[in-house]
C-alpha cells in the first residue's frame, strides 16, 4: 500500500549540485522543500576526514562514492542493431551516490561555455554556410545566451570559491588568463591554485608556439574563502588524494561543503535519504506532475509525495528514465528523428598523451585533480575550421598532479606490465611523467540516444535506461587534430620520450574516461526541438523543472558542472521571480 503524504511546495528528485541549488533558492523564497535522495547522507565533518579520505584502495579502486549498480544501472550498446547489455559495474563514467552526488568526487574543473557555444548552429552557419553542417549532426543553439546566463555563472563561482585568472574582464582581454573566454563581470573569487612543474614547462612551450596558456579554473579554493552563502571554505592542501575522493579541508567545492551547511539548518528544508523516487505521477490533461512515488530503501515502504513544483535533479540517465517511465514528452526515434526524450546524448571525447622528462622532478605525489595548465586556442570557434573536415574542439591541458600509486604510475609505451623490467621502469619514470589531455566536444549525432531497455530492470522492477552510443566520425577527426597540437607542444618541451593516446574507434564502457554525460532532455526554443524551455521548464508539464547536464543540447569542449550550476541558478531565478506569482508555462509554445 502506498502511503500518501502531506503536500509540500517543492520536491527535488536527488540531492547533488542542482538539487542543493534549487532547494536553497526555493527555501530562501519561502517554499517548503523536501529532497528525496536515494543514497546515503554524506557530511563533510563526519565523512570526509583524515586519515580515512586518503585511501586509494577504498575510493580510487573500490569506488566508495559511486553509484550502486546492484540498485540501478543502465544498458549499453555501440550501435542500434546490437543487443544492449547491462553495465554490471560502472567504469567509463562514475556517477556519484548519495547526498552531493557526483559533485563530491569530481576533479572540480570549473568552466563556462564560450559565447559562441550557446549559438553554435548559428555560428557555424554564419562562418561556414548552412550546408557545411552534416545532416546527422543534430546540434542546435541553446535557448539562452552567454550574456543572459553570465550573472548566474558568477553567482555559482562565488558559491564554489572558484580559483583562476580572468582572461576577459568586462570585455578587456587580460594576459595570463583565458583570452578566449566570454566577458566576465568579475574576477575569479580566488587567485589560481599553484602550478605544477609540468604545468610551467607546458606553459612555456605553448607560449613559444604562439598559444595562450593559463592556469586551470577550478572549484578548489586556493585560500580560505567565505562564499556567497556565508560558508567558510578551507584552502587547498595539495594533498594528492582528490579525484574520486572527498575533500577533507572543504577546499574542493561540493554541495555538501558550500550549500548544505546552511540548507540543513533551514526549517523549510527536509532531507530524506535512501528514498528512491520511482515514478513521477503525471496528469497529462493538466500538464502537471502532481506527485512523486518513492520507496524508502530502509524499510521497503512506498510513499506518494504530492508537490507543487517537481525538480528533477538526478543524474542524466535518471532524468531521462523518469520522463520515459511517466510518459512525459515523446520518446526519441533515431530512424525518424522524431520525439525529443532521449535525443542528443553526448559523451565528452577525451584523448591524451604522456611525456617523460628524465632530468625533471615533476612531484606527482601532490597537487589536486584539476591542477593543470591549459590552452584554449583549439576549442569551439576559437579557431577556423575551414578545410579541416570537422567541427568542434577542446581545451588542451597538462598535469602531473595527484597521481597516487595505484592509478598514477605512467610508464612509456612498450614497457612490460609486470616483472622486474616493469618495476624498474616504474621507479625510473614515476617522478618524471607528465600527462596531457584534450577535453573534446561532442556535437550531437542522430544515432546516439537513450531509451528504455526492453529486457533489464532495476532492483525495483523499473526498466533500465538503454544507451546507444559511439563517437561520430566528426569527433575522431576533431580529436586527431587536437592531438597533433598536443604533440607539437610536447616536442617543444623536449621530452626524453613520449606517447600519444588516441581513443579506440569503438567506445567501451570499461576503462574510466569521463563522467561527462549530457543530453536526453535537451533545452530549446520550442517543443518541436526540445524537452525543456530556456528556464528548464518541461514543455509538457509546467511545474516540472529538469536540471543538470541532461538539458545540454550538445556537449562543448568544457567540463559541464560550471554550466549546469549556472543554469540551475538561472532556472531558480525564473521560478522565484515569475513562476510562483503565476504558475504556468514561462515560454509559450
Amino acid at each position: 500500500m502506498v502511503t500518501r503524504l502531506k503536500d509540500v511546495d517543492a520536491v527535488t528528485v536527488g540531492l547533488g549540485w542542482t538539487g542543493a541549488i534549487m532547494a536553497r533558492e526555493l527555501t530562501k523564497a519561502g517554499l517548503n522543500v523536501v529532497s528525496l535522495e536515494r543514497g546515503p547522507d554524506r557530511i563533510p565533518g563526519e565523512d570526509f576526514i583524515l586519515p580515512a579520505v586518503r585511501d586509494e584502495v577504498k575510493y580510487g579502486a573500490r569506488l566508495e562514492l559511486m553509484m550502486d549498480n546492484s540498485i540501478d544501472t543502465l544498458t549499453f550498446r555501440n550501435f542500434g542493431n546490437e543487443r544492449a547489455l547491462p553495465i554490471r559495474r560502472i567504469g567509463a563514467f562514475l556517477p556519484g551516490e548519495g547526498v552531493g552526488g557526483s559533485g563530491i568526487h569530481w576533479g572540480a574543473l570549473h568552466w563556462r561555455n564560450l559565447p559562441s557555444d550557446f549559438r553554435i548552429r548559428s555560428a557555424l552557419t554564419e562562418r561556414y554556410g548552412a550546408k557545411s553542417i552534416p545532416d546527422d549532426m543534430t546540434i542546435q543553439d541553446w535557448p539562452v545566451s552567454y550574456d543572459e546566463i553570465e550573472p548566474f555563472y558568477d553567482k555559482f563561482d562565488k558559491i564554489c570559491g572558484v580559483s583562476g585568472k580572468a582572461g576577459n574582464l568586462r570585455g578587456k582581454k587580460v594576459d595570463g588568463g583565458n583570452i578566449f573566454e566570454g566577458p566576465r563581470s568579475d574576477e575569479y573569487p580566488n587567485q589560481p591554485i599553484k602550478t605544477s612543474n609540468a604545468g610551467l614547462m607546458f606553459g612555456a612551450a605553448a607560449k613559444s608556439l604562439g598559444y595562450h596558456p593559463f592556469p586551470a579554473p577550478v572549484a578548489i579554493a586556493s585560500n580560505a574563502y567565505v562564499n556567497a552563502d556565508g560558508v567558510t571554505l578551507g584552502a587547498c592542501e595539495y594533498c594528492g588524494y582528490c579525484n574520486r575522493i572527498a575533500c577533507e579541508t572543504n577546499a574542493k567545492a561540493s554541495a555538501n561543503s558550500t550549500i548544505l551547511p546552511n540548507l540543513r539548518l533551514d526549517p523549510k528544508f527536509e532531507l530524506r535519504t535512501r528514498c528512491f523516487v520511482t515514478k513521477l505521477n503525471y496528469d497529462k490533461a493538466a500538464k502537471k506532475v502532481v506527485s512523486v512515488t518513492y520507496t524508502d530503501m530502509k524499510t521497503g515502504e512506498e510513499y506518494e509525495q504530492p508537490a507543487g513544483i517537481v525538480l528533477l535533479t538526478a543524474f542524466v540517465f535518471s532524468n531521462v528514465q523518469h520522463l520515459l517511465l511517466a510518459g512525459i514528452g515523446e520518446p526519441y526515434d533515431p530512424t525518424t528523428g522524431k520525439g525529443m526524450v532521449g535525443k542528443n546524448y553526448a559523451y565528452q571525447f577525451e584523448a591524451g598523451a604522456s611525456a617523460f622528462f628524465e632530468n625533471k622532478e615533476l612531484n606527482p605525489y601532490w597537487g589536486s585533480a584539476g591542477m593543470s595548465t591549459i590552452i584554449d586556442d583549439f576549442n569551439g570557434e576559437n579557431f577556423d575550421h575551414g578545410g579541416l573536415g570537422f567541427f568542434g574542439g577542446g581545451y588542451i591541458n597538462c598535469n602531473t598532479a595527484a597521481a597516487p600509486p595505484i592509478s598514477g604510475r605512467t610508464v612509456p609505451h612498450g614497457t612490460p606490465e609486470w616483472g622486474s623490467e616493469w618495476k624498474h621502469a616504474t621507479v625510473k619514470w614515476y617522478h618524471h611523467a607528465a600527462r596531457f589531455n584534450t577535453q573534446g566536444s561532442v556535437y550531437a549525432n542522430r544515432a546516439n540516444y537513450m531509451d528504455l531497455d526492453p529486457t533489464y530492470k532495476d532492483v525495483l522492477g523499473r526498466p533500465l535506461i538503454r544507451l546507444t552510443y559511439n563517437p561520430p566520425d566528426n569527433e575522431f577527426k576533431m580529436s586527431a587534430y587536437l592531438l597533433t597540437k598536443v604533440e607539437a607542444i610536447i616536442k617543444a618541451m623536449n621530452p626524453s620520450t613520449y606517447d600519444m593516446h588516441p581513443r579506440p574507434k569503438t567506445f567501451t564502457v570499461v576503462p574510466y574516461q569521463s563522467t561527462h554525460n549530457t543530453g536526453g532532455t535537451i533545452m530549446g526554443a520550442d517543443p518541436k526541438s526540445s524537452v525543456v524551455n530556456r528556464y528548464l521548464q518541461a514543455w509538457d508539464a509546467h511545474n516540472l523543472f529538469i536540471q543538470g547536464a541532461s538539458v545540454f543540447p550538445q556537449q562543448h569542449g568544457y567540463n559541464p558542472t560550471g554550466t549546469l550550476g549556472a543554469l540551475a541558478y538561472w532556472s531558480a531565478n525564473a521560478i522565484t521571480s515569475r513562476y510562483l506569482k503565476n504558475p504556468g508555462p514561462l515560454v509559450h509554445a
Partner: protein
Amino acid sequence: MTEGTIPRRKFLVGAGLTGAGLAGTAVATGLTPTEPAAAQASVAPTASAAEAEPLLVLNETEHAFVVAAVDMLIPADELSPSGSDCGCAVYIDRQLASAWGGGAKMYRAGPFFKGKPEQGYQLPLTPAEFFIAGIAAANEWSRKTYGRDFDRLEPDKRIEALKTMQEGKAEFADLSSRAFFARLLTLTMEGFFGDPIYGGNRNKASWRMLGFPGLPATYSNVIDEYRDKRYVAEPQSIADFS
C-alpha cells in the same frame, strides 16, 4: 608420491612456517602437528615465510597459485621484496572476502549474454567466484600444458604461462584467460601499491621504492620550495595517522 602431488600444506610447512603462522594454517586445514616434520625435506620454491597469515577465502591450492603468481608479477629484486613478501596474496584473499568480492554494488540480474568486450564483464559470477574459478581453470590448463599445477612450475615456465594467459592464448574451459589475468594483475598492483591496512604493501615497501610519501597532512607549506626537487619523507600510512 611424486613431487607434483605433494600436498601444498606440506610445502608451506617445509618452507619454514613457524609459530602463529603454522598454528593458523594447521587450524585451517586440520593438519596435525606431527605431520609437518615429515615434510621438512620438501622445500617449495614459491612459498614464503611472510605469508604466514590465516586465509579468509582461498584454500591452500588457490593460495599457492596466488603466491606463485604474485611473485612472478612482482619479483624480489634490489627494488622491493617479492609480491607475496609484500602481502599481495593476503591482500587478494581479503579483497575476495570483502563486500566487493561478494558482488556488492554490482548488477547481477540476468539474462546473461556474452556481449562485446566494449560492454564489459557479463558473467553471473561474483568477483570472488570468478577469481577462484579462474585459478582452477589456470591450474587445469597448466596441468594439460606442463603436466603440473602452476605453482609447481619452475619460474621461467610460470612467466611463460602468465604471458600466455595475458595474451588470452591459454585455453580455459569457461573463462577468458585474458580476463582472469587482467583481474589478477589489477588486484596484485592494488595490493602492492595500496595502503598497508588492507594487508598488502607491507612496511610500505612500494611507497619507499617509488619515493611516494604516502599520506600527507598537507603539502601547501612545501610545494613551492620543492618544485622540480624531490620531496623525500618517511612515508605515512593510514595506521600512522590513527
